[in-house]
C-alpha cells in the first residue's frame, strides 16, 4: 500500500480529535495543556502534508511560525500553571472557577 495524502490527513485529524477530546474530558491543567500541544501538532502535520503534496513551501513556512509561537506559549503557559499552583495549591480545572462569581 502506498502512503498518500489521505493517510497523513487521517493521522492529522486523529491527533487533532484526540487533543480536543482530551481538553474536554481531562481535569488536570497540565494534561489539558499537553492536549492543546497535540492539537497544534495535528494541524502542523496537515500543513506539512499539504505543502509536500502541492510542492510549495507555504505550509512549511507556517509550521515554523506555529512551532515558534507554540514554544513561546509553552513557556508562558507553564509559568502560569506553576504560579496558579503556588497560589491555589491545585491544578484541577473544576476547582479553578473563580470567575464564576
Amino acid at each position: 500500500m502506498t502512503i498518500g495524502l489521505n493517510e497523513f490527513l487521517v493521522v492529522s485529524g486523529l491527533l487533532f480529535t484526540i487533543g480536543f477530546v482530551g481538553i474536554l474530558v481531562r481535569r488536570n491543567t497540565l494534561i489539558v495543556f499537553m492536549c492543546l500541544e497535540m492539537m497544534l501538532n495535528g494541524v502542523n502535520l496537515a500543513l506539512v502534508s499539504f505543502s509536500r503534496y502541492n510542492g510549495t513551501m507555504d505550509g512549511n513556512l507556517l509550521v515554523f511560525f506555529i512551532i515558534t509561537v507554540a514554544a513561546a506559549e509553552v513557556a508562558v503557559g507553564l509559568a502560569i500553571i506553576v504560579a496558579l499552583f503556588r497560589k491555589r495549591q491545585t491544578v484541577y480545572v473544576q476547582e479553578l472557577n473563580g470567575l464564576k462569581n
Partner: protein, 632 residues
C-alpha cells in the same frame, strides 16, 4: 460711584456673606453673627446712598438668550429697575433688616446654631433685594422662590421641634399653591406681550390696553395670595411664628409678606378694574377675618401674626380700591396708581410699627425664658420699662392714634374706601375698631396685673443690643406717617396719595383714631381685666373662643381636604403610576434585559470544559454556515 456698580455690590454683599457663613463659619457662631451684621451695615449704607444720592437708573445685562423658531429670540435679562417705588421698598428693607440683625445679636445670643440663623438672614436679604430691584417677571419669580426658601429655612430654625418642622413645610407648600398661579400668570403675560421686562410691559400695556385681561391680573395676584397670606392661602402665616421672633419681625411682618403688595404695586399697569375688584374684596375679608380670629389667640406672637394678616388685608384692599376709583370716574392710571401708592404707604408704616411690636414681643419672650402665652405673663410694665414704653407706642401706632405712623396710612386707606365703596369702608372701619381692641387685650394682659408664672415674675429688661433697635423703631413708628420724613426721593408715591379735602371726614378720622386706639385699651381693660387668670371670652363663651382659637376651622378644613380628598386621589394616581409607568414601562424594559442576563448567566458555569463545549458548538455552527449547510 457708578450706580451699576452699587447694584452689583448690593447683590453680592449679602450673597457672599451667606456663602462664607455657610461654607466656613458653621461652627464659628459669634464670628458669623458679627460678619452678618457688619455686611448688613455696609449693605444699608450703600442702599441709603442709592436711595438719596444716586440717580434713578435702570441697569440690565442679558442673562439667557434663546433663538426661537421664526427668527425671534427669547430673552431673559438680569437687571435692575430702580424707581421711587423700589427705592421706598429698599428703604424699608435696609432699615428693618439692619435693626433686626442688631436685635438678633441679643436675642439669639445663646442659640446653639446662631451661624445658621445669621446665614439665613443674609440669604434672605439677598433674595428680598432681588424682588425689590428686579426689572423683569422671571427674575422676580426666581427671587420670589428664594425668599420662600429663606423663609422655610428660618421658620425651621428650631428643627428639633415637630411644630416648627410642620410649620415650615406648611409655609412652603401653601406658597407653592399660590406660586403655581403666579407662574401661569407670568406665562400669560409673555404670551400676550412677548416680553418679561417691566419697562417694556408698561409701554406695551399703555399702547394696547386690549391685551390686558382680568384673568392675567388675577393669576399674577395668585402669587400675592400665597406670599402676602391673603384669604384662602392665609393659613401658613400664623404657623410661621414657630420661627425665631426676629424672623417674624423681618420676614413675616415687615418685608417678605409685604412683597406681594409691593409686587402688585409694581405691576399695577397689568391690573384691570375687574381684577382689582376681586383683589379689594379678598383684602377686606382677610382684614376683618384676621382681626376677629386674633381674639381667640393666647400666644403673643399669634396675636401679632393675625394682626399682620389683618393689616396686609388693609393694604390689599387699598390696592383693590384703586381699581374702584376708576369706576368712579377717575382716570385708569391715576386711580390704580393711587391705590398702589396708598398700599405702599401703609406697607411702610406697618413695617415700622409691626417690626417694633414683634421685636418687643421678642424682648418679652426672651425675658420670660421663651414663654409665649400671654396668660403666663402679666405685670411686665414695671419690670421692663423700655420695652413697655416702646410697646405702648407700637400699640397706639397700629391702633391709629392721631399723629403716629399708623394713623396717616390707615387714614388714606379709609379715605380711599370712603370715596369709592361704602361697604368696604364700613368693614375696614370696623376692622380698625377691632384692631384697637385686640391690641388692647394683648397690651393689658401682657403688661398689667400680677405675674402669672415664675418666668414672668423673674423677667428682667433686655440688653442694649435689643433695646436700641426697639427705640429706633419706636421713633420711626412716631414719625413714619409724615411724608416729609422720607425726604425728596419718593415723589411718584407721595404725589399719588390722595388727600382728603373734606374737613368733616378728617375730623371723623381724628375722632375714630383716638377712640379706637385709646378706647380699645380702656375697653380691653374692662373686658379682659388684668387681674384675671383666664381669658374672659374663654370663660364666658368657651365655644366661641375655641372656634376662634382654631381659626374658625379653616386650617382643619384644609387638613381634612388634604387627608380625605387629595390623598385619595394621590393614592389612585400613585397606583396607576406603579402599575403602568413604573411597572409596565420602566420595570418591563428592565425586566426583559434582566431575563437575558439570567439566561446568559446560567451559561457561565466556571467549568472550563463547559466553555470548550460552547466553543466547539460555535465552531460547528460557523463551519456549517461556511459550508452553506446552515442558511441564515
Amino acid at each position: 460711584m457708578d450706580a451699576a456698580l452699587i447694584y452689583q455690590l448690593l447683590f453680592l454683599i449679602p450673597l457672599v456673606t451667606a456663602a462664607v457663613i455657610a461654607c466656613f463659619m458653621r461652627k464659628k457662631h459669634s464670628l458669623a453673627a458679627r460678619l452678618s451684621v457688619v455686611s448688613a451695615a455696609v449693605f444699608s449704607g450703600l442702599g441709603l446712598y442709592l436711595i438719596y444720592a444716586a440717580e434713578r437708573t435702570d441697569w440690565s445685562v442679558s442673562w439667557l438668550s434663546l433663538a426661537m423658531p421664526g427668527g425671534r429670540t427669547f430673552e431673559i435679562g438680569f437687571g435692575v429697575l430702580f424707581n421711587d417705588l423700589s427705592a421706598l421698598m429698599l428703604l424699608v428693607l435696609i432699615i428693618v433688616g439692619l435693626l433686626v440683625q442688631v436685635f438678633s445679636l441679643g436675642y439669639m445670643k445663646d442659640d446653639p446654631s446662631k451661624a445658621r440663623f445669621f446665614g439665613g438672614l443674609s440669604i434672605f436679604m439677598f433674595s428680598m433685594l432681588g424682588i425689590v430691584l428686579a426689572d423683569n417677571l422671571v427674575m422676580i419669580f426666581i427671587f420670589w422662590e428664594l425668599v420662600g426658601f429663606s423663609s422655610y429655612v428660618l421658620i425651621n430654625h428650631y428643627f428639633d421641634k415637630p411644630t416648627a418642622v410642620a410649620a415650615s413645610k406648611k409655609a412652603f407648600i401653601v406658597n407653592r399653591v399660590g406660586d403655581f398661579g403666579f407662574l401661569l400668570g407670568i406665562v400669560f403675560v409673555y404670551w400676550q406681550f412677548g416680553t418679561f421686562n417691566l419697562v417694556e410691559l408698561e409701554a406695551k400695556a399703555a399702547l394696547s390696553p386690549g391685551l390686558l385681561s382680568t384673568g392675567m391680573g388675577l393669576l399674577l395676584f395668585c402669587g400675592v395670595l400665597g406670599k402676602s397670606a391673603q384669604m384662602p392661602l392665609h393659613v401658613w402665616l400664623p404657623d410661621a411664628m414657630e420661627g425665631p421672633t426676629p424672623i417674624s419681625a423681618l420676614i413675616h411682618a415687615a418685608t417678605m409678606v409685604a412683597a406681594g403688595i409691593y409686587f402688585t404695586a409694581r405691576v399695577y399697569f397689568l391690573m384691570t378694574p375687574e381684577a382689582l375688584n376681586v383683589v379689594m374684596w379678598i383684602g377686606t375679608i382677610t382684614a376683618v377675618f384676621a382681626a376677629i380670629v386674633a381674639f381667640g389667640q393666647n400666644d403673643i406672637k399669634k396675636v401679632l401674626a393675625f394682626s399682620t394678616l389683618s393689616q396686609l388685608g388693609y393694604m390689599v384692599a387699598a390696592l383693590g380700591l384703586g381699581g374702584q376709583a376708576v369706576a368712579h370716574g377717575h382716570g385708569v392710571e391715576a386711580g390704580i396708581a393711587a391705590g398702589a401708592a396708598v398700599a405702599m404707604f401703609h406697607l411702610t408704616t406697618h413695617a415700622f410699627f409691626k417690626a417694633l411690636l414683634f421685636l418687643n414681643s421678642g424682648s418679652i419672650i426672651h425675658a420670660c425664658h421663651h414663654e409665649q402665652d400671654i396668660y403666663k405673663m402679666g405685670g411686665l410694665s414695671g419690670k421692663m420699662k423700655v420695652t413697655f414704653a416702646t410697646f405702648t407706642i407700637g400699640v397706639l401706632a397700629i391702633g391709629g392714634f392721631p399723629f403716629l405712623a399708623g394713623f396717616f396710612s390707615k387714614d388714606t386707606i379709609l379715605h380711599l374706601a370712603h370715596e369709592n365703596n361704602t361697604i368696604v369702608y364700613y368693614i375696614l372701619l370696623a376692622t380698625a375698631a377691632l384692631t384697637g381692641l385686640y391690641m388692647g387685650r394683648l397690651y393689658v394682659v401682657t403688661f398689667f396685673g400680677k405675674a402669672r408664672s415664675d418666668n414672668a415674675a423673674h423677667a428682667k429688661e433686655s440688653g442694649p443690643a435689643m433695646l436700641i433697635p426697639l427705640l429706633i423703631l419706636a421713633v420711626l413708628s412716631c414719625v413714619g406717617g409724615y411724608t416729609a420724613f422720607y425726604g425728596h426721593g419718593f415723589h411718584d408715591i407721595v404725589h399719588a396719595i390722595p388727600h382728603a379735602t373734606d374737613s368733616g371726614f378728617q375730623t371723623l378720622m381724628y375722632i375714630t383714631g383716638t377712640v379706637f386706639s385709646i378706647g380699645g385699651i380702656i375697653l380691653a381693660w374692662l373686658i379682659w381685666s388684668p387681674r384675671r387668670d383666664v381669658d374672659t371670652l374663654e370663660s364666658g363663651a368657651p365655644a366661641v373662643f375655641k372656634a376662634l382659637g382654631n381659626r374658625l376651622y379653616i386650617d382643619a378644613f384644609y387638613d381634612w381636604y388634604v387627608e380625605k380628598v387629595q390623598d385619595r386621589v394621590a393614592l389612585i394616581l400613585s397606583f396607576l403610576d406603579q402599575l403602568l409607568i413604573s411597572g409596565l414601562m420602566v420595570r418591563g424594559t428592565a425586566g426583559i434585559v434582566g431575563l437575558f442576563g439570567i439566561v446568559s448567566r446560567s451559561l457561565h458555569t466556571g467549568n472550563l470544559a463547559g466553555y470548550v463545549y460552547w466553543f466547539a458548538i460555535g465552531v460547528l455552527v460557523l463551519g456549517a454556515i461556511a459550508f452553506g449547510t446552515l442558511k441564515i
